[in-house]
C-alpha cells in the first residue's frame, strides 16, 4: 500500500493528490452561488452614474429646475412688476434700464436712510422690471413648455406607434404613409404657419374658458408639437413593437392563452419603456429650442409672461447698450438644451446601448 502511494506520488510529480478531496456540500453550495441579483434598472443607474458628462448634466438640470421653481418664492420682485410705478405717484423713470447692481431713485434714498435694499443682479429692463426674476420665470416657462410638449408628443406618438406596430397590415400601412407625409413637410415652415394661424383662430375661441389664462400662444405651441413632432416618436415605438412582437416570449404568452391587452401590458410596454423614456428625454431640449425660437419670432408666450426666447427677442432693441440682456437668456437656453441633450445621450448609453447609431 505504501509503495503504491509512493509510485502514485512519483507519477503525479509535484501535485499532491491528497489535496484533491471531494468538496463538502457547503463548498459546493459556495461554488454554485450566483452573483448578487441585480435588476435591469439598477444596472442602468450604475452605468449612468459612471458617465461623468451625464452626471454633471443631470446636476446642472436639477439646479436650473430647482432654482426656477424656488427663487420666485423669496425674490422680492415680481416678473411683471414695474418698479417705477407706485400707485398714486407719477412714473419714476429712474427705474428703467438699470445696469446690474444699480438702484432706482427711491431705492437710493432708502439705502441712504440705512435700509437694506435687495439688489437688481441683472439690472432692470426698459420698463423697470427686475431682469433677474424675468430670466428665472422665463426659464420656468421654457422648461414647462418643453416638458409638457414632450409629454404630448409621447402620448400621441406612443398611442399611434403601438397601434400601428401591434395591428400591422393595412392599419400600419395607412398610418405609416401619413407619418411619411408629415415627416417630409419642412417642419420649421409648418411650425411658423401653424403657430400664426392658430394664434388668430384660437384667440376668440378660448375667450372666457379656463384655457384663456394659459394664453393662446402656448396652447398653439402645444398643438404644433402635438401635430408635427409625434411622427418620429411613433416611428420609433412602432419599430420597437414590431421587433418585440416576434420575440418567442410573446408567443409563449399567447400559447399560455394571454390576450392582446395582457401581452401589451406585460411584454411589449415594459420592454419598450426604456426607449420611450430616452427619446422623451431627448425630445425635451428639442421642444425648448423650438419654443425659444418661436418666442423669438413673436409667436411664443403672451406678453407680460417672459420666456427665454422672448427675453432674447426684446433685448434686440437695446443690443448695443445692453448686450448682456441678450447674452444671459441665450446662455441659459444653451445650457439647458446642451445638458438635457448630453443627459439624454447618457441615459441612452446606460439603458439601451443598441439605440446608438
Amino acid at each position: 500500500m505504501k509503495d503504491f502511494k509512493d509510485i502514485r506520488k512519483a507519477f503525479s510529480m509535484h501535485v499532491d493528490l491528497d489535496d484533491f478531496i471531494p468538496a463538502t456540500d457547503e463548498e459546493k453550495a459556495y461554488m454554485v452561488q450566483m452573483r448578487p441579483s441585480s435588476t435591469f434598472f439598477r444596472d442602468g443607474v450604475k452605468r449612468l452614474l459612471k458617465n461623468k458628462v451625464a452626471t454633471v448634466s443631470l446636476i446642472i438640470i436639477i439646479i436650473i429646475t430647482l432654482s426656477s421653481l424656488l427663487i420666485p418664492l423669496f425674490w422680492p420682485y415680481g416678473f411683471g412688476e414695474q418698479l417705477g410705478i407706485q400707485p398714486g405717484k407719477p412714473v419714476d423713470s429712474s427705474y428703467g434700464n438699470l445696469k446690474p447692481f444699480e438702484y432706482g431713485k427711491t431705492e437710493q434714498e432708502r439705502i441712504a436712510a440705512g435700509e437694506k435694499v435687495f439688489p437688481h443682479i441683472f439690472g432692470t429692463d426698459e420698463r423697470g422690471r427686475d431682469y433677474f426674476i424675468r430670466v428665472v420665470y422665463g426659464t420656468r416657462i421654457s422648461l414647462a413648455v418643453g416638458f409638457f410638449a414632450s409629454i404630448i408628443v409621447l402620448i400621441i406618438g406612443m398611442t399611434i406607434g403601438s397601434v400601428a406596430g401591434y395591428c400591422g397590415g393595412a392599419v400600419d400601412l395607412v398610418i405609416m404613409r401619413i407619418v411619411d407625409i408629415i415627416y417630409s413637410l419642412p417642419d420649421m415652415l409648418m411650425v411658423i404657419l401653424l403657430a400664426s394661424v392658430l394664434k388668430k383662430t384660437l384667440g376668440s375661441a378660448l375667450e372666457g374658458t379656463a384655457l384663456e389664462k394659459i394664453g393662446t400662444n402656448i396652447i398653439s405651441l402645444f398643438i404644433v408639437f402635438g401635430v408635427l413632432y409625434w411622427v418620429s416618436m411613433s416611428r420609433l415605438i412602432r419599430g420597437q413593437i414590431l421587433s418585440l412582437r416576434e420575440q418567442e416570449y410573446v408567443l409563449a404568452s399567447r400559447a399560455a392563452g394571454a390576450k392582446g391587452s395582457w401581452i401589451i401590458r406585460k411584454h411589449l410596454l415594459p420592454n419598450s419603456i426604456s426607449v420611450v423614456i430616452i427619446s422623451t428625454a431627448l425630445q425635451i431640449p428639442n421642444a425648448i429650442f423650438t419654443e425659444s425660437f418661436l418666442s423669438f419670432l413673436g409667436l411664443g408666450v403672451n406678453a407680460p409672461m417672459p420666456s427665454l426666447g422672448s427675453l432674447a427677442s426684446d433685448a434686440l432693441n437695446g443690443l448695443s447698450s445692453y448686450p448682456y440682456r441678450m447674452i444671459i437668456p441665450a446662455v441659459v437656453i444653451s445650457l439647458i438644451v446642451l445638458s438635457l441633450n448630453l443627459f439624454g445621450d447618457g441615459l441612452r448609453d446606460a439603458f439601451d446601448p443598441k439605440l446608438r447609431n
Binding site: 399560455a256 392563452g257 395582457w262
Partner: protein, 330 residues
C-alpha cells in the same frame, strides 16, 4: 389512415390534412403563398413521444405551432382529445391542455420579468389560484420539479445559464398541468453535456405526469433516444413515419435513408457496411417547390413518374407510413 384512428381511442392529438401557408410579399403589392406545411396528417397517441425530424426550414416548427393554433391553419383539422378545434372557445380549452417549450432559451423568456413571474404567467392568465400564497407555492413546486433552486425565484432570466433558462421554460410549460407539450428543439441551443440532462428530465417528467410529447429536432440521434415513433419531414411534407427502432433499422424513404447514413455508427463493421448516401444539390425553396414528389430533385431513385404526382402518404407495413412512388420497387 383515418379509419385506423377512429378505432383507436388512445389518440390524443389527431392532425388531418393540415396546411399552413404564409403569404410572402414578392414585389409591389404581390404576394405568393409559401407552403410551410402542405397537407400533413398524423396522430399522436396518449403518453407517447413522437419525434419530428427534418432539415432546417422544412416546417417542423410551423407544424408544432399550427397544432397549438398559434397560427390559424390555412386548411385541415386538429382533433385534440376527440374534439376538433374549431372556434375560440375550443382554442381557450386547448391552451390549458397543450403548451410549448421553445427552441431559443434566450428570446423565449421576457428579460423584464422575474423567474417566478415567468413561470407563473400561465397561472396568472387563467387565474388558476385563489391566493397569492397558493400561486407562490405552485411556482416553487414547479421550480423544484425542473431542478431549479427555489431561492432564485425572484431573479431575472439573464442571470441564468442556457440550461437553467430552458428549465425555466419547461416549468412555465408545466404550470397548468398540460397533457400535451410541443417541444421545439428544446436542446439544440444547449451544450452537449447539458443536452443529456435536459432530455433525461423530459423523460422523467413524462413518466411522472403522463405527458405526451411532440418532440422536434433536426438531429435524429437526439430524437431516437426519447421517441417512441419518429416522423420525418421534407419541404413541408411528411415523408415517413414509423416506430423509432424500425425507422432507424429499416428506413424506407430515400430521404430518411440518407439521414440515417449520416448518423455516426458506433459499430465499425456496421459502419463499413453502410455506405454513406450523400445528397446532391440544396434543399429547394418552399416558395417554388418541385412538382410531384418534393424530394425528386435530390433523390437518387427519381424516375419520370415522380415528377407527375405527389406520392401518397400510405401505410406500407403496419404502423409504417411512407410517401414514395417507388417504395415497393427498391
Amino acid at each position: 389512415m383515418s379509419e385506423h384512428i377512429e378505432k383507436n381511442n388512445d389518440i390524443l392529438v389527431d392532425v388531418r390534412h393540415l396546411k399552413q401557408y404564409f403569404n410572402i410579399n414578392v414585389g409591389w403589392l404581390m404576394t405568393k403563398p409559401l407552403k410551410a406545411v402542405d397537407d400533413v396528417s398524423f396522430s399522436i397517441r396518449r403518453g407517447e413521444t413522437l419525434g419530428l425530424v427534418g432539415e432546417s426550414g422544412c416546417g417542423k416548427t410551423t407544424v408544432g405551432r399550427s397544432i397549438l393554433h398559434l397560427y390559424q391553419p390555412t386548411a385541415g383539422e386538429v382533433i385534440f382529445n376527440g374534439r376538433p378545434i374549431r372556434n375560440k372557445a375550443d382554442i381557450r380549452e386547448l391552451r390549458k391542455k397543450a403548451t410549448m417549450v421553445f427552441q431559443d432559451p434566450y428570446s423565449s423568456l421576457n428579460p423584464r420579468m422575474t423567474v417566478s413571474d415567468i413561470i407563473g404567467e400561465p397561472l396568472d392568465v387563467h387565474k388558476a389560484y385563489k391566493s397569492k400564497a397558493e400561486r407562490m407555492e405552485r411556482i416553487l413546486e414547479l421550480m423544484d420539479q425542473v431542478g431549479l433552486n427555489s431561492e432564485h425565484a425572484s431573479r431575472y432570466a439573464h442571470e441564468f445559464s442556457g440550461g437553467q433558462r430552458q428549465r425555466i421554460g419547461i416549468a412555465r410549460a408545466l404550470a397548468l398541468k398540460p397533457e400535451f407539450i410541443v417541444c421545439d428543439e428544446p436542446v439544440s441551443a444547449l451544450d452537449v453535456s447539458i443536452q443529456a440532462q435536459v432530455i433525461n428530465m423530459f423523460v422523467e417528467l413524462q413518466e411522472k405526469m403522463d405527458l405526451t410529447y411532440l418532440f422536434i429536432a433536426h438531429d435524429i440521434l437526439v430524437v431516437r433516444h426519447i421517441s417512441d415513433r419518429i416522423a420525418v419531414m421534407y419541404l413541408g411534407k411528411m415523408v415517413e413515419l414509423a416506430d423509432a427502432g424500425e425507422i432507424y433499422d429499416q428506413p424506407l424513404h430515400p430521404y430518411t435513408r440518407s439521414l440515417m447514413s449520416a448518423v455516426p455508427q458506433p459499430d465499425p463493421i456496421v459502419a463499413k457496411a453502410n455506405k454513406r448516401i450523400v445528397l446532391s444539390g440544396d434543399i429547394p425553396s418552399p416558395l417554388n417547390a418541385p412538382s410531384g414528389c418534393p424530394f425528386r430533385t435530390r433523390c437518387p431513385n427519381a424516375a419520370p413518374c415522380c415528377a407527375e404526382s405527389m406520392p401518397e402518404f400510405k401505410e406500407v407495413k403496419p404502423g409504417h407510413f411512407v410517401a414514395c412512388h417507388r417504395v415497393n420497387e427498391l
